[in-house]
Every structure is written in structure tokens, then in C-alpha cells.
Symmetry: C2
Subunit: 649 residues, 2 copies
């Protein structure tokens, strides 16, 4: 196996031929601030804790059965439980690259890789479920079997491990499985001409092509994309219902799709795969479809938090503007998928809007999926939990739990936390673009040479941000700095001298012959913003939400005066004030508002009634002070009501 | 078998010992008007059409396999498909009682009964799924097997056939199965101490007790009720989630329950069973729990249409006021269950509110489950379908279809249509109560003798109603006439002479020594009503709905001027006007309103934005005229958007 890969690269390492507007920084490391804290939580608690959960839930045991090193019954119902191990391995790899993995994590990863090596069959096949629980059924249930999806996560883990450590042990295993898939699938006689019920193999095969230089993988990724939408899988049946072929993205050829539809994670993983194929092939129809679908999603099917997916039943996108706050599904994995897609579309096009939604999703829809301690998780991330909520139990209740029966989200979070540095800075031949102000060190290539930046930002709490040049080529290079849509006024200084800031298309551009030690100071305005939704979003009608900087805020029962219910709170739109102390949430900045507590005017037994005459004003209700907290910090105190959208008078 | 039953009785025939405020009319027949039309549609199209569907879907085939009269594979996935045949048999029975079943229906019913007799095993067991598809697993999967639920429908069909025709053939079969269940279940050693995952056996066993006089069935019904809430079934698992024990009503002992929870049909069938047990035992704690739960449901978990159930995933009640219009589940069967429960609670207590909700549910949440032609059905009955709705396919899309994979709803509608006459009139020792103004002939017993009434009502289109005395005892008897909450002003005349109408607790009472030919004329006011919801119902915030008489109205795209989208419509609250002609809906009265078409103020790519300054008024939008149609008539023209709640300015 010839490797053409480069050390230091992140989840996406474009080939030299890639049709990209930007290329990711060649090396990146988060050094301080908000996201450094979260990476530390991930390194010290979340990822190590997952090791125990993967044992407790049986994932490692089941792999041991496949390897012949363990005895007993196969423990998991789902055929995709290996992927949680793969995602964990990928997370450990990125932690290792960042210098944040201790020896114990490293040893455990090596042990799992050895287990996978022992489990792999001679022809390359590796999937504990179909080796142990359903032997003989290999590639026989593409609809629900998740075999290619699982292989995709194996490949991504292997690529990460190789890039992080130079160790090709897992890569050899992944290549074995990828080669088996490549020679088993296709339109040629004797091959299986089917796609997987869950996309995910597409991005992985493109990344394996990028890592190995072997064009077979790119071609096979194109095959898996192109064979969708021809009804090969039929409708997705689950009693008592039929979800239809859109559930597994088999309803329309990708290039012809006009709206995001079906299972949200499946849709977004497929879009990311198509974006990757575009990046390496230049197939403009793929990019056009990706951009069209993304626009449809952003404009009509995305929650304020960046979360997506309105349906619990089929974990699917809903209709345009079908965004009920309480029944928001907003699976954490869908937020992750949206971030991964947005980064690819940014690299492909250089458009700021993609980075904009990545930022929103990162701070809200994604980060809200884990507790502040990093040890409990939410699978669904609704924008409202009512007073009197009856927990339904199971994965789909908003309450945070240590692990899920279908535990896709937690290890998915771990790998994104651990690789987050790679989603911030990119470059083209003449400029370096800072898309996320994540405190860190970044090296990026231009035609003139390498620029090294040190970013320090007080975000999300304050807008003060400094970009220091650590190393620069002698020729001038432009700095392209994204101006977030949430920024209200911005001051820019270069080496202490104010410079005019005229954002264009979401960027300010400062071109200079930079020298080490030069400094660009940015000060983004971060006032509290009251926002409202398109009137077609019924759940948010005549309601407002609070935002500040990249953060969406929410209200929780815990921050209301005793005796008041959150569902009775109406916002009075006088000036909100920042508060530096929120009870039970140390270090969190909240937003204090004045509201009125206006109990529902409920008839004796029926909640609907005539409109009162105009002369009869609504009862004013008691004036109360309530503090909104960042959405990501919700659910970290006693159980209670929560809401993002607050009715306004 | 000794029968103590009476001919002419409907689905509920109380025993002499029953602890009831009212007893159903001893005979009842719908003779004219709105519901006569629907009964005719049911008799001529819906029920005969179901015969074909039950063959096409394999239900009859599968019973034939159990009977040994057919060969081949068992065709259905679900273990409860026999119940659709039972419900159809029950519907045919009530049609026969009403003189609306032709010979062909009668012959088919007799053939099915013969098939059931041949399929029944020597010990009484009868369930094609566990006889053919899963032999040897009898009573082994109480969680999902639906065996007792299925037996419940068998018993109800048998009781109906016996009451309608005097033919005990099916009753003997049902008694065989009931006796087997009775001797198989219980706390005694060697018996199965479990309850069914789906309630339904409870009401059936009580009715079998009423029919046979055998107290064992009443006792067994009590046993099945009392053993719930002790965790015998464990949580209800369905990958990837766990619904919790509330899904099958095993989360709390019934007497202790404080809120309606879990699967809506299961909850309501269980409540109806508890109400039946109360009626025959006088166990006050059961009635108290039923009333408490009903109050909770009506006040916080019922849609304007009377529909219930907010969750698609687990077909469950949501949290209090969690009533999103677009994700309303409102299964047709849940509306039916609510009507059956409401009638029992009315009989138990005499409270008008139960009849009130029965009426609302009947005209809206129930009737909306079938097309105007009676040949297509909706399983879910949301209060909103958006512009740009993407059909998801399957049972849970709002589009009407001919049959469902899980076809519980259509035959459930058939049996309620066919027995509807029994839900209108009741009596106690001194009074006859008219709870629903359904044109028909009713005979009801009082201590003074029998009163026979002929009701003629123009409802739901007009409020004019006449109650003519056809036969009366010589002693005075009171007429108790329900005054619907929707009635705005009411004129009452007796034999042409106006009498003062002073409703009390929802009734007017007219006591007289009636004579044949006497006439009571009622004129209910039926103005168009603009109603709004408790502010906690977020989906309806600052929106209004239109009602008139017992009907809830909705808007459909079809009634908007070309080029306007329903999702952009805002109601201008000037006087709505009745229109007698609605395009494509002959005979339907609509309500014309003036609105404004105000397109969403959408930024380029993101549907959320800052609140505009106070000085900047909303764009007024174009003035449009739109016609609302009765909710039950929705979905009978071309596919399009629909909504009950319209934003108001």
C-alpha cells in the first residue's frame, strides 16, 4: 500500500487535483479558551468514559466474539454497533494528534485495533453482527444491515489513526474491507448492484482515495452515489408504517433532488459524500445539487439552533417550516452531519454562509448534545420541554443519560470535539481564511508559502479576538476574516492601528506583507439580539428568541421565581441585561429579561374558547424576572421546563 | 348458555344492578338527516368495500388457513389482523339491527362466522396468527401478541350479532375463547398472571357478563384491570427506543393514575373498561380515576377536533398542551375510543360535558377519518398540512387511502357508524335525556313507562330541531335536553308555545304529562364562532379557528385564489359569511372570510431574523377571500395545504 498522505491533516485532506476554493489548514491545534475547555472535557471524561460504556453495552464483547477471544452470546440487537467503537477509535486518534490522549487511551486503542485485526476474515470482511449474530447473511440485507455504513466508519477511523500517528495497522484492516466491498459491488455481472440503507460509505471511500491515491475508491464512491434514486432498495418498511424510499435516500437520483427529505442523518451524510466527490472530480451537477439542497434546508427546515429533523417517527426532515419546538427531533448526529457537510461546502465554494451555519450548529445544536460535565448525553435536542413533561424513557426523551441503546451520538460527538481544530482555518493560493474564531495555532499553505497564525478569541462570551502572525512568507498574503452575521458593528486594528472594516460577502480582507509578530485585533459587537421566525414557523409565531454572539439562549424553570411556570411566561421587550452569575451554572453568562407570568385563561374543562371582545384586555399577569441561559447549557440542573421561543406581548 | 340479553340493545346493555345515572334507550334507529346519510354511505359503500379489502389484505385468507379451508402462506405481519374481521362482523351486525344490511352482507357474515367456528380449536382457542404463523406460542407474548385484545373484538362482535339477530352462533365461539382466557389467567398457581399489551378485553368481558349473566367475566375484567401498573410487562421496547411501560398502560395502577399517558387508544380503551367495571360494580375509585383522567385529557391534551394523541412515534398522548397542529397524530381509532369512553362516563354520571365532547369528536375528529364517498380513509388526522407537503407514504401520511397495512381504523369506523343510534338518547327513572340531536326514533324506559321520541334535526347545518312524542306513559316524565356549549341563544317551544329556556348544568328540563303528538321545537343558535386556544398551545398562538354548530372548520388550498399559498394567509377578523356553494364539495356549507396573504419575510437563506423596529409595520399583504370548509370534508379534492388554526392579525 502506497500512502500519499500527510501527517497533521484532519478529517479532510484534499488531493492536489481537488476542485476546491479553499484547502484546510495543514496543521491546527486548539490552544485556549472555550473550545479548549471542551476538548479537555472530551479528553479527560467523555472519551475515556465511553470506553466503559462500550464494554458495558457489549460492543467490545461482540467484537471479541468475532475475534474468537471472547465467548458467550452476541449482545446487541442493532447491526451497526461496531461503528460506535470505530467512532471512538477515530476520536482517540484525533486526541492523539492533538497531544491530548494519555497512554492509557493509546493502549486501549491499540488493543481494539488488534481485536479488529483478529476479527477480520481472510477476505477482508469485518462486521461482528454478520459474523456472529447473523452468520451467512453477509451483504444480504443492504436495507437495514448497515454493513457499508459500518465499513465507512471503519475507514474514517483508520484514516484518522494513520494521519494522527502514522500507524497503518488499522488502515490495512480498512483497506481489506474496502477492497472486498469494491470487488463485491457494481453493475458488472456477478456483483451486487445495491446501495446501503444508510449512507456513510461515500465520504469514507473518498477519504481513503485521498489517503492511498487509489482511484478505485473514488470510483466506487461515485457508484454508490449514482445508484441511489433508482428504487433498488424499495420502500423502507417498519410496521405499522412505510416510510417510503426517501427514508434511505433512494427516492430520487441525487443530481435531481430538489429538497432535503427523509432521515436527516442519512440525507446529510449523503450530501457530504456528494460534496467530497465533487471536490475530487469537479462534477458540477453534484455541487449544484448540494448547494440547492443546503439552501432548502437552511431556509425552510432548520431550527434556530442549527438542529435539523422534525420527525421522531422516521428521524426525518419535515415539510417546509414544519419546525415544532416541542417535537423537534434535532438528533445530535444530524447536527454533526450538518457541520461536516457545511465545512465541505465551504471548501468547495468559499461561501461564508456555510461557515455561518457551521458556527451556529456547533455552539448550539451540537454542543447541547452533551452535559457540561461531558458524561451524559441527549439524543434529541428539542427547543421546548413543557411544564409537566412526562418522561417517556428511552433514547428519545430530552433528559440526558449516560448512554443510549442506539448510541450513535456520543462517540460521534467525541470525534468532532477531538478534530474541531480542523474546521477553523483554510487557505487558497493567495489568502488564508479564518472561518471560526477558535483559539489555536494554525498553519496554512499559500502559493507564496506558509502562514502561521495564533488565534485568541473570547468567544462566545465576548467579541474580542486577536490574530497574531507567527510566521509568514515574504510576499504579501491576504487574511480573509469571516464577519459573523450576528456581529453588530466590528472594530479592526492592525498592529494597534484602526483600519476601515468594509465587509463584503461576509468577509473582510486584509492583504499585507505580514511578518511574525504582526497582530490583527477584531472586536465583534455582541449585543443581545431578539429574533423572530418566519411567520410560517407556527410554533414560534409572535414569539421571540434571545441570541448573543454565536449563542442561542433558552429559559429554564430553574431560573424563574418560585411558584411561576415557564409555560405562562410572556416576554416584555424591554432591554435585556447580561448577568454574570447563574445559579447552579458557574462561569455562565445569562441574559436577564422582564416578563409577565400570565396563566392560561382556561375554562373549566376545555382549553379553547371564544375570542374575548376587544374591550377586554388580556390580564396583565405578575411581573417576573427571568434569566435565559445558553441553549447548550440546558438540562444540567434539576429536571424542568425549557423553551427557546418565548411568547412576546 | 343462558342468555339474559335483550333484543334491540346497542353496544352497552347495562344489567339491572348497574350503578348508572342513565341507561341507553332500549331501541334506537336513525331515520333521516346528516347521520342517516352517513349510515347509508357506510351500509352501501364502506362496509361492503371492506369485505374486498379484508380479502385483498389477506385477513380472510389467514383465517382460512386456521380453519383448514385454505392453503398457502400466512400473509400478515401483525398478530392482530383477525380483529379487522371481527370489527367488520360487528359493523354488519349493527347494520342488520338497523335494517340496513342486504342479504349479501348477511350471507358473508354468516360465512365468516362459519369460518371462525371451523378455525376455533377444541379448547376454545381462536387466533389465526398464533394458530398458523406462530404455532405453539399461544399466550407467550402478551406484550405484542394482542391475543386478549383480539379476543375482546371477537366478543364484541359476538355480542352485537346476538343482540342484532338473536343468533348465538358467534356468541358460542366467543364464550369458548372467553372461558379459555378465564381459566388460563389469574393469580392462582399454574395460571398466567399477566395482562395484554393492548387493553380491549376489559370492556368486552363486561359486555359478555351483561349478555350472559355470568359473573366470571366481570371478575376476570376486574383482574385484568387490577393487574396493570405493577410492571408485569416491563418497558415497551421497540428499537431504537424504549417507550416505557406507559405505552401499554402498565406504568401505574389504574386507580392511582393522574394523567392520560402513553398510547392513546390503549389508554382510552382501558378507561372505557374501567368505566364499564364501575357501572357494574359501583367501585367509586374507578369512576373517580376515569373522571380525573378524562378531565386531564379534555383540558390539556385534546385537539380542537376532539382528536387525541400528539406523538407519531409511540401513538401517544404528549405533555400538557403539547398539541402541535402539523404533527397531530389524532388516530381515527383514538377518536372512536374517546367517543366510546365519553358515552360510558355520561351513563355513569349524567354530566353533559361527556356528551359535549362526544358530539365534537363525532363531527370532527371521527368523521374526518373517512372520505365523503366512504371509500378512502385517513389513519392520522392532523390539524395542518403545509404547502409543499412531501408525502411520506404509508399509513401515517395525511392523504386518504383505500386501506392500511395496519387497518384498525376503517372497520372501527364502520362499527361506530352502524351503532351510532345508540349514543344519542338515555333515560333514568323519571326522565329521558337527549344527548345528541340525531334524527331518529328512540324508545326509552322510565319508572312510569316507556317514552318514544322522534327527533328531527337540521344539524349540523342549522339549529332547528324537533322532538315529537310518539308514545308516552300517562304519568309525567321529564325531557332533559342537552344544550350544546356551542349554541348561542336558544328558543324552545312546546306544541307551538314558547317556553322559557333556562339551561342548568348544560340541560333544559321540560317535565310534562306527554301525549303522542306533542312536539318540542328547539332552535339552537349557530353563528360562526371565532375561537382561540389556551396560550400554552403554542401551535395556535395568536391564531383563531372557525366553528359553527358542532363543526370545526378548516381552510384548504383549493378554496384560495390561484397564486396564493395557505401558509401565507392571515385572517382579518371582520364578519365571516356563510356560503352555500363550495367548489368541488356539493351540499357543503362553507364560511367565507377575508384575509391577507402575507408572504413570509424571508431573508436570503435563513428564516430567522431580528425583530423589526416598532415603526416598521408588517407588510399588509394582498387582501384575499378564502372559504373555510368543515374539517370532516377536508382532503376530498386535489392534494394541497390545509389548516384549522389561522394566524390572526
Amino acid at each position: 500500500m502506497t500512502s500519499v498522505d500527510a501527517a497533521g491533516a484532519g478529517p479532510i485532506r484534499l488531493t492536489g487535483d481537488a476542485r476546491a476554493a479553499y484547502r484546510p489548514a495543514s496543521s491546527a491545534r486548539i490552544t485556549a479558551g472555550f473550545w479548549r475547555h471542551w476538548q479537555q472535557v472530551n479528553a479527560s471524561t467523555t472519551t475515556p468514559g465511553a470506553w466503559e460504556q462500550l464494554h458495558r453495552a457489549g460492543n467490545v464483547h461482540d467484537l471479541g466474539l468475532a475475534a474468537g477471544t471472547t465467548s458467550g452470546q452476541y449482545r446487541n440487537d442493532h447491526p451497526f454497533m461496531d461503528t460506535d467503537v470505530y467512532k471512538w477509535l477515530e476520536a482517540v486518534s484525533w486526541l492523539t494528534q492533538a497531544g491530548m490522549a494519555d497512554d492509557e487511551l493509546g493502549d486501549r486503542a491499540a488493543a481494539v485495533v488488534a481485536l479488529l485485526g483478529a476479527a477480520q476474515e481472510d477476505d477482508g470482511y469485518l462486521n461482528s453482527y454478520f459474523q456472529v449474530a447473523q452468520p451467512g447473511a453477509r451483504f444480504a440485507d443492504l436495507r437495514w444491515g448497515h454493513e457499508l455504513y459500518s465499513a465507512g466508519h471503519l475507514i474514517q477511523a483508520a484514516v484518522a489513526r494513520f494521519r494522527a500517528t502514522g500507524n497503518a495497522d488499522l488502515l490495512r484492516i480498512a483497506v481489506g474491507m474496502a477492497d472486498l466491498i469494491d470487488r463485491s459491488f457494481g453493475t458488472e455481472p456477478g456483483r451486487i448492484d445495491l446501495v446501503d440503507g444508510h449512507p456513510g460509505i461515500e465520504t469514507a471511500l473518498v477519504e481513503l482515495y485521498r489517503t492511498t491515491g487509489d482511484h478505485r475508491y473514488l470510483g466506487r464512491a461515485e457508484y454508490f452515489l449514482d445508484r441511489r434514486g433508482h428504487g433498488l432498495l424499495g420502500p423502507a418498511r417498519r410496521p405499522p408504517d412505510t416510510f417510503g424510499p426517501q427514508y434511505w435516500q433512494d427516492h430520487v437520483p441525487f443530481r435531481d433532488a430538489g429538497t432535503v427529505q427523509g432521515h436527516a442523518v442519512r440525507q446529510l451524510y449523503l450530501m457530504a459524500g456528494a460534496a467530497d466527490i465533487y471536490l475530487e472530480t469537479g462534477d458540477e451537477r453534484l455541487l449544484a445539487a448540494c448547494e440547492r439542497l443546503w439552501e432548502d434546508m437552511a431556509a425552510t427546515k432548520t431550527y434556530l439552533t442549527g438542529g435539523v429533523g422534525s420527525h421522531h417517527l422516521d428521524e426525518a426532515f419535515g415539510d417546509p417550516y414544519e419546525l415544532p419546538a416541542e417535537r423537534a427531533y434535532c438528533e445530535t448526529c444530524a447536527a454533526i452531519a450538518s457541520i461536516q457537510l457545511g465545512w465541505r461546502l465551504f471548501l468547495a465554494t468559499g461561501r461564508a454562509r456555510y461557515a455561518e451555519l457551521v458556527e451556529r450548529t456547533l455552539y448550539n445544536g451540537f454542543l447541547g448534545g452533551v452535559s457540561l460535565g461531558g458524561d451524559t448525553f441527549s439524543y434529541v435536542n428539542p427547543l421546548q420541554v413543557r411544564d409537566g413533561h412526562h418522561p417517556t424513557g428511552g433514547d428519545m426523551d430530552p433528559a440526558r443519560v449516560r448512554w443510549f441503546r442506539c448510541a450513535c451520538c456520543p462517540p460521534n460527538m467525541m470525534r468532532l470535539f477531538a478534530s474541531l481544530q480542523h474546521y477553523a482555518v483554510a487557505s487558497d493560493s493567495s489568502a488564508v481564511a479564518v472561518t471560526q474564531y477558535i483559539s489555536g495555532r494554525y498553519r496554512a499553505e499559500t502559493a507564496e508559502g506558509e502562514l502561521e497564525l495564533a488565534v485568541r478569541s473570547a468567544l462566545p462570551w465576548h467579541g474580542e479576538t486577536e490574530i497574531r502572525i507567527e510566521q509568514a512568507p515574504s510576499a504579501p498574503v491576504a487574511l480573509r476574516l469571516r464577519v459573523p452575521a450576528w456581529s453588530d458593528g466590528m472594530a479592526v486594528g492592525v498592529n494597534g492601528v484602526p483600519v476601515p472594516a468594509c465587509p463584503q460577502d461576509g468577509w473582510i480582507v486584509i492583504a499585507a506583507a505580514w511578518a511574525a509578530g504582526d497582530s490583527v485585533a477584531l472586536s465583534f459587537g455582541t449585543p443581545v439580539r431578539l429574533v423572530r421566525a418566519d411567520p410560517r414557523v407556527d410554533a414560534a409565531r409572535d414569539a421571540v428568541a434571545l441570541e448573543r454572539g454565536p449563542l442561542v439562549f433558552c429559559f429554564e424553570s430553574a431560573d424563574l421565581p418560585v411558584g411561576h411556570r415557564l409555560d405562562d411566561l410572556v416576554l416584555a421587550q424591554d432591554a435585556p441585561a447580561l448577568v454574570r452569575q447563574v445559579a447552579g451554572l458557574p462561569g455562565m453568562t445569562g441574559i436577564q429579561v422582564t416578563g409577565r407570568s400570565r396563566p392560561g385563561r382556561r375554562p373549566l374543562w376545555w382549553p379553547y374558547g371564544p375570542i374575548p371582545p376587544q374591550e377586554e384586555p388580556d390580564p396583565a399577569g405578575a411581573t417576573v424576572t427571568a434569566t435565559a441561559i445558553p441553549y447548550f447549557a440546558r438540562g444540567n440542573r434539576q429536571p424542568g421546563a425549557m423553551r427557546v421561543w418565548l411568547p412576546s406581548s
